[in-house]
Structures are given as structure tokens and as C-alpha cells.
């Protein structure tokens, strides 16, 4: 079977805008816990030429979907609008937007010339009657129009929350088909919101747990292509793959890149014992980091690359430990009731996300890197495998339903525990890995 995969690589380079005005009164302080979402309006963008008509509404719709999807913003229904935005440069009638209680207003304009799209936008603080930050303009292609909407939404999100953005990002995951006892799996990649799905492998071989490189250009994953689990690295642009670890008589799995992308940490199972190794990607030389008779797996680097968090059952049950990136003595950080696995260091460095099993239920949770302040964010029959949004605010994970017709889907949840939602995918989906913010 031949699979033809078309990958469009879109790179947009933006200059930082000069006048950052983020100290205005309109601000969502996420850390204080947002209970009531901020109402906002994002009317259809202004089409500056006829070719732009088809994008005017679509762009605004994606901006709305991104912002409302965070749970921090709520769209004011469009049928409430008193004013319409028909010109990007005309003065905003603040009173009309105040009257419908839109605290923030996002306006935009789009111009299409052949395959190129130009998008401009502005963000207003309606109640203080001021613009938040400067207007900004992006260029892209008609095929890449959704990325431009994500860029706009990222700017709005950042200007109002003060947080780093995350909408212009992708997720690599395992797409699943077929019944539970004959499941077929293949690697897929999509926008963070489920759009633009592309398949990276066929489903003739079982594949597990893809993981993005720090720049999003490569993906590590485990495949049974040889009949035995082995680690592969796949170039997202060319879809070319190569086996990374192929030690005869052993199995390798659970790979993750180091923050500089030059090293891979992974598990190797041999003779009934699973330990953690690290490999220099360029030379292929590997170093053993743990040597206990217990199961050591699911390693994940700290953002500065100096430490590795992993799970081990050396105490008798799965628990989370941290060791130096060079191996050596490890410190246990999980002490609650139950089993803890699949730890992932947050991109901000402050938290560890994990899977917890307790009393027959599964949870996604976070704790500080010293194990304190454990908080469970979800509970279900089977939740596992957290991955962090590029800004460390949101966690995506796998949720599997129970029973003979059980199936997997992707969900995301804010680290506050709010805004749990399913990510739309075509068929079953598992093992998400969130990319860094695209450039």
C-alpha cells in the first residue's frame, strides 16, 4: 500500500512589535483563577477586496474559537451587535460595544492577492476607549489562512492575559481505527484545535507515543515495524524516518528529546528489566542512566536540560523520581496514595504533569517539582499521557472509555482544572504531543 502524504510547510517570521502596551486596565490575571469569562466581540474581518470575501468570516470565526476555547473569554452573540465594522481604519464606536457589554473588541481586515493573504488586526479595550497594543499585520497563503487567524488570536490572548501564546501550534498523535482487539494505529499531525489533519505513517505497523523535537521539525516514536518495539525519528517536513535504536535482543520505547534536541532519553527493556538510557542523536552512542532491577521508564527532561523526571516501581509501585541528566541517585517526589506515571516537565519548569491511578480511577494531575501542591485536574475510567501547551497553561491527554466498545480521544484541560474539553479528531486518537509555538 502506498500512502501519499502532502505536507505544506508554512513559515511566518514576525518582527516583534515596537510599542508593547500591556499595562492597560483590561487584563485577565489567570493565576488568580478566572471564574467569569471576559465578554468580547470579534466581528467578521473587513474584506479589502473581493477575493478576500471568503476569508473575512472564517478568520474571525477561528479567532473567536481560539479565544472562547480557553474558557477565559466569552463571545458576545453577533445578533446583539449595534455597530458593524465596515472599515478597519474608521474610529470605533465604543458606546455601541459598551452597550452590549463587550469588554474587548477585535477588529481585522483581510486582503487576498492570488495565493497571498494579508491580515491586519487591532484589539480595543472598549470600556476605557483605548487600543491595546498596536495594530499588527501578517502575511501568509490562502492555504495557511488558519495559521494567520491563530496568530491574531495569540496576540489578543497575550495582550490581555500577559501569558505566552499557544494557538499557533500543532499536535502529533496516534490516530486509531478498528475494534479494541484489532486496533490499527498510525501517526497523525494536526493543528492544536484538531484542524488540518495529515497522516505521517501508514497503519500496517503498531506505533506508539510520538514526541516532538524542541523545534517541532522532528518526531520521535515507537514502532513495531520489525516486530519488536524500536525508536524511530521522523522528519515532519519530508516524512522520512529512520530507526534510532536497534540493539538486538532488546526493546526500546518511551523516547523524548532533550531541550537542545541533540540527545534522546528513552527506555530499553532487556532480560526482564527496563532502564533509562540516553543517546546522542548525531553519533548514536548511548549511555545507561539507571541500573535498578525495577522498571524505570517515561523519562522527561527539565527545560534547562539538567534533570530528568521519570517513573519507577523500585518502591513496589509506580512513583515519580527526579535525577540528574547524567544519571545517578534519584529523589522520589510522589508520595500520595496510588500509582504515579508518565511525568512530563512543564515548559516553564515549575510543574510536573503526571498520570495517577487510584482506587480504580485514572487522573491527570500536576505537582511542583519537589512533589508538593499535588492537584488532580481530571478523573475518569482511563486518562493518561499528559502533554503541555507551549505556554504551560493547558494540558492535553488521552481519555479512553471503558467496555468492549471503548475508544480513545484527546482532551485538554487548563492547569486550573477548568475548561475540560474534547479535541475533535476523525476517529480514535491517543498519545498527543504538543509542538512548540510555530515560528
Amino acid at each position: 500500500m502506498t500512502l501519499r502524504v502532502l505536507i505544506a510547510v508554512l513559515a511566518i517570521f514576525t518582527l516583534p512589535f515596537a510599542a508593547l502596551a500591556q499595562n492597560g486596565p483590561l487584563r485577565i490575571e489567570i493565576t488568580e483563577g478566572v471564574v467569569e469569562p471576559m465578554p468580547f466581540a470579534a466581528p467578521n474581518f473587513v474584506a479589502e477586496n473581493p477575493a478576500a470575501n471568503e476569508f473575512a468570516e472564517r478568520l474571525a470565526r477561528v479567532v473567536v474559537s481560539d479565544l472562547a476555547g480557553t474558557g477565559l473569554f466569552r463571545e458576545v452573540p453577533r445578533d446583539a451587535y449595534i455597530s458593524q465594522i465596515t472599515s478597519f481604519d474608521a474610529p470605533v464606536q465604543y458606546a455601541d460595544w459598551k452597550a452590549i457589554n463587550a469588554q474587548a473588541l477585535v477588529t481585522g481586515a483581510v486582503n487576498v492577492n492570488g495565493n497571498s493573504v494579508n491580515v491586519k488586526f487591532r484589539v480595543y479595550d472598549v470600556f476605557s476607549g483605548t487600543e491595546i497594543g498596536s495594530g499588527l499585520q501578517f502575511a501568509g497563503t490562502t492555504q495557511g489562512w488558519r495559521r494567520m487567524a491563530h496568530k491574531v488570536a495569540d496576540q489578543v490572548y497575550t495582550r490581555i492575559t500577559g501569558e505566552q501564546p499557544y494557538f499557533d501550534s500543532r499536535v502529533v498523535y496516534v490516530s486509531e481505527q478498528g475494534p479494541k482487539d484489532k486496533r490499527r494505529k498510525r501517526l497523525a499531525i494536526m493543528d492544536y484545535d484538531g484542524a488540518n489533519v495529515q497522516y505521517l505513517t501508514g497503519s500496517e505497523h503498531l506505533v506508539l507515543a510520538p514526541r516532538f523535537s524542541p523545534t517541532g521539525d522532528r518526531v520521535l516514536y515507537t514502532s513495531y515495524e520489525t516486530g519488536f518495539p524500536r525508536i524511530y525519528v521522523l522528519d515532519v517536513g519530508s516524512v522520512q524516518r529512520r530507526v534510532l535504536e536497534s540493539q538486538e535482543g532488546s526493546m526500546s520505547f518511551a523516547p523524548r528529546f532533550s531541550p537542545n534536541g541533540q540527545t534522546v532519553v528513552y527506555s530499553l527493556a532487556s532480560g526482564g528489566n527496563t532502564d533509562i538510557y540516553r543517546m546522542d542523536v548525531a553519533s548514536g552512542s548511548s549511555t545507561r542512566l539507571t541500573s535498578a532491577p525495577s522498571i524505570e521508564t517515561a523519562p522527561s527532561y527539565s527545560p534547562d536540560g539538567s534533570q530528568i523526571v521519570f517513573e519507577s516501581d523500585r518502591s513496589g509501585s509506580q512513583q515519580i523520581y527526579i535525577m540528574s541528566a547524567n544519571g545517578g541517585e534519584a529523589k522520589r517526589i510522589s508520595f500520595g496514595n496510588g500509582r504515579y506515571g508518565t511525568p512530563v516537565w512543564s515548559p516553564r519548569g515549575d510543574l510536573i504533569a503526571f498520570t495517577k491511578q487510584s482506587k480504580g480511577r485514572f487522573h491527570i494531575g500536576v505537582m511542583r517539582t519537589d512533589g508538593s501542591e499535588e492537584r488532580l485536574l481530571t478523573a475518569s475510567f482511563l486518562d493518561e499521557g499528559p502533554t503541555w501547551s507551549p505556554n504551560g497553561r493547558v494540558i492535553m491527554f488521552t481519555r479512553e472509555t471503558q467496555g468492549a466498545s471503548g475508544a480513545s480521544s484527546l482532551y485538554s484541560v487548563d492547569i486550573s482544572g477548568r475548561n475540560l474539553k474534547r479535541i475533535p479528531t476523525d476517529g480514535g486518537a491517543s498519545d498527543p504531543s504538543w509542538s512548540p509555538l510555530q515560528r
Partner: protein
């Protein structure tokens, strides 16, 4: 206010043909087994070679010797029943020395993916180590773990989980190099 951002666009479209390969496991060699019980197939029955009545057949190994052992929750130690099954496997493998085997370790769905791969490997090796200790040459045995990826029973209850926590000795004819 200024429109100050420039954008550069780079689009490349790359078409690639992914490789195709044959199915990687699932025991394609073992289809069309004779459904009759090996125990009832007497010497006079006219044994069909390769059928479950043929004591040198894979079907006989699967049905009469027993190709799998089961494990307790989160355990990889062999039960008394498991050891008895493996004693039978040892005898059969010693008699039918042309066969090699891959021991597949599996876990139930109550566990995280990576841990279950490691747990399945432990189970497969427990079987391998036992067979080797009883005299089966280690060169004839390989192990693989499928973790929780290949359940044979699909309900989410202990009755199914108990059958999924298994190590299956999958025979292949001919010695591997």
C-alpha cells in the same frame, strides 16, 4: 500606530511515498486450524498433518499443550498453573526441535502505556527464563512485549483482564539465524 510587522512566507510541498511492509505479527502462519480437539484425535482417526490431532503441529501445541500462561495483577511471577503449562511447552519444544518461538508478553488495560510495555517484557522474560531453566536452548527463544496494545478480551472487567495478562508462546517453524 504603525503597521510594522513584515512577514516572509515559505511554502514547500513535499510528496512522499511511505514504505509498505507485510504485517508485523498476528500469526499469519497459523490460520485454518482444525477445530477438532486434540484429545479426541486417536491414532486410528487418520491424523491430518498440521491439524490439532497431529502432536507435532502448532495447532496441537496451542490447544493441547497450551500456548499461554496468565498473570496476577501487576505481577510477572509464574503461577503453579503457569509453571505446569510451561513444563508441557518445554517437553514439546525439546521434542520438536525445529521450532523457534517468540514469547509475547501482554498486560491488561489498567495501566499506563509505557509501564505496560515494560510489564509485558517482564512477563515474557519470566516465561523465557523458565523454559531455558528447563533446558530449552535460549537461541530458540525471543521475547517481545505488546503492553496493553493487543487485548484478546475487550470487556473492562476482571474476567477479561485476567485473560489479557498473559504471555503467549508463538511458534515459528525453522531455526532463525
Amino acid at each position: 500606530m504603525k503597521m510594522i510587522t513584515k512577514a516572509v512566507l515559505l511554502t514547500s510541498v513535499i510528496a512522499l511515498a511511505a514504505c509498505s511492509n507485510k504485517s508485523d505479527f498476528e500469526g499469519d502462519d497459523f490460520t485454518d486450524l482444525n477445530a477438532s480437539s486434540g484429545a479426541n484425535a486417536g491414532a486410528n482417526a487418520g491424523i491430518i498433518p498440521g491439524s490439532a490431532g497431529d502432536p507435532t503441529s502448532i495447532a496441537f501445541f496451542q490447544q493441547s499443550v497450551g500456548d499461554r500462561v496468565l498473570f496476577e495483577v501487576d505481577q510477572s511471577s509464574l503461577t503453579a498453573q503457569g509453571r505446569a503449562t510451561l513444563d508441557g511447552q518445554t517437553g514439546w519444544l525439546m521434542t520438536n526441535s525445529d521450532y523457534t518461538a517468540i514469547i509475547e508478553g501482554h498486560a491488561d488495560e489498567q495501566g499506563t502505556r509505557e509501564y505496560n510495555v515494560a510489564l509485558g517484557e517482564r512477563r515474557a522474560n519470566a516465561v523465557r527464563d523458565y523454559l531455558v531453566s528447563k533446558g530449552v536452548p535460549s537461541s530458540r527463544l525471543r521475547v517481545v512485549s505488546f503492553g496493553k496494545e493487543r487485548p484478546i478480551e475487550v470487556c473492562s472487567a476482571e474476567g477479561c483482564y485476567a485473560k489479557n495478562r498473559r504471555a503467549v508462546t508463538v511458534l515459528a517453524a525453522g531455526l532463525t539465524g
